[in-house]
Amino acid sequence: MSKGRAQADEYYPGPVHQPPVHIAGTHVEHTHGHHPKLQHHFDTMAQQIEASTLGMWVFLVTEIMFFGGLFMCYLVYRTASPEGFAEASHHLNVTWGAVNTIVLIVSSLTMALGVRAAQTSAPPKTQVAWIVATMALGAAFLGVKAIEYTDKFTHHLVPGPYFKWEGKHPAAAEMFYSLYFCMTGLHALHMVIGLGIMMVIGIMAWRRQFDADYYTPVEVSGLYWHFVDIVWIFLFPLLYLIGGHFTE
């Protein structure tokens, strides 16, 4: 019996109020027949995961619009100075960008298999292994990002008073790097938050919280992780590959 219900009974004792029956050694929180993870405002487990998934998608729609503002900004300034953006883009390291794209795609695979492991009631060890693999790949992504950022700092490519550009379009190049740091920075922040979420999910999996009947937290966190992957799928060509690399 929940705490709220017990209090209500105390203040408004009904005519059929009965004290809970205690049998020594058999204390059970929920005695009525449903899955312990089913919250009381849902009718069925299916309805519960449906509602959670839908709620996560609504959040992801707000995230699409959050990143959408930056993509709009990128579109406006790139249309204004296509040559400047192409020139600035050539300073980014395509190899690192491609490596990070692959790393994130592999992490999406391990995430999807982690969700599947929970769905199929795989042992906690298997579930945790997929989540740890996902986290390791996420950390690798951030490591590569750190190498790239260091390179930009040492080459004076960070917008501000020390920004230096030898090419023909210094103003457009500075705008490009402003957008580069905003977009990849916001994306990296999402990766850091994702790592935190995966930490919690990993601990829950280790404590045998997930099985075929209840895996909502893994499923919903997986949606977030895949979304962050999708953002990078667009960032990679838009930032690293514009203006044609055939000239080199």
Partner: protein
Amino acid sequence: MSAGHVAPKSMYYMVFGALIVGTILTVAAAKVDMGPLNNIVMLAIACTKATLVILFFMHVRWSSRLTWVVAMSGFFWLLILFGIGMTDYMSRGWVPGTLR
């Protein structure tokens, strides 16, 4: 209830393979001079990859119609943002005396 659909592992590996091929194609396409087509090819591959992730990794393929509508609404609003936003920026100065 379709939310509990368990897809075979082989499907995940196939989608993964397609995503890797897409990435290699994107990098390869950037090295070929196709003029304005370069951007279109690049974005077409990115959109295909995103669709694969949404449909299979994010299980939208097996989700309810309501989830479909909500997921698509995000991209629909994004198109409105880009469409109306660029209509403004690209048409500036077309009419004499307007802000450029």
